[in-house]
Subunit: 162 residues, 2 copies
Amino acid sequence: MLMMDLFRSYLHQNRLPLTHQREAIAMALFEAEHHQSVDDLADLLRGRGEHVGKATIYRTLNLLVEAGLARELDFGEGFKRYEHQAGETQHDYLICTSCGKVARFRREAMDRLQADVASELGFAVQSRMLKIYGFCDACAGAESSGQAVGSPASVGAGPETG
Amino acid sequence: MLMMDLFRSYLHQNRLPLTHQREAIAMALFEAEHHQSVDDLADLLRGRGEHVGKATIYRTLNLLVEAGLARELDFGEGFKRYEHQAGETQHDYLICTSCGKVARFRREAMDRLQADVASELGFAVQSRMLKIYGFCDACAGAESSGQAVGSPASVGAGPETG
DNA sequence: CGTTGATTGAGTCTCGTTTTCAACGGTGAT
DNA sequence: ATCACCGTTGAAAACGAGACTCAATCAACG
């Protein structure tokens, strides 16, 4: 697997040992289709009969992020999620504040806009995180749409409203 | 002050009392120019001779967010920040991963892009959070720019890399 | 193989945020 | 004004994600 080779290469070049645990954690993340939490990964590994401490999962995920092979995500759930970064181009997120569904999308225009703004304000871009919050198709029907001042404050899964 | 009136109105319509603490906290946030942490606000209030417990600050900030008068921000510092939402239009953020400086910007194109994507994917937008990470002018000079696989993993104030 | 130096993991610690609960205080009615 | 109702307050405790500790373990290289 390519991703695994890249990880091995990263470890080797930084004189870090490739342990059984690191391999198992990286494999689990690389094989996963969606963004995984640390607990997700712990469960997944336990299911495979692997004994891996959570501290090690945290440490290995940080390694993978440093290696550029994974990205850290925060959908406001109170804990982080991780997804592998298979050399894919940057993508952005739509998040349903009702059911929590996350959809990914890509727009060239977004990259251009980012480059324009950055050069204008004198920033050298490293990465970005765009999250658009709202209601997905399925959830749009219901919802009391408590709009700001004056309503019952029925905001559900309150996102990072910024 | 307009913001304060809106808050009063929100409380009244929801049959919630306007306490001295709530007024003090809201005032402090409304008067603040930049995004404040809970500790910032606690210090500020203490400096004014107001005795307000942190639990109350948290609770009042949540109220303000529900009222649509404040927004919650997370710049990856390990704690949340809040800024008042004075009916201003949506804005986005550039964050220096080296010194932590935060710059705000606005682009019409961003709103259009958001609307396009949302309608295309069947989402009803509530809000968004766009954070562009990179190095500001001042910090761009130094930095070993540890680029992904193979380098010393010298990632500094690692942002939400997603 | 043996040595070296980093990793592992169960448990502990940290710290932001939430909850608890008894005392307190707005608010609207009287 | 006064009262009663009901939500608020705040100190302390609880909570939870994530980082740290340290002795035992293990990968890697000669």
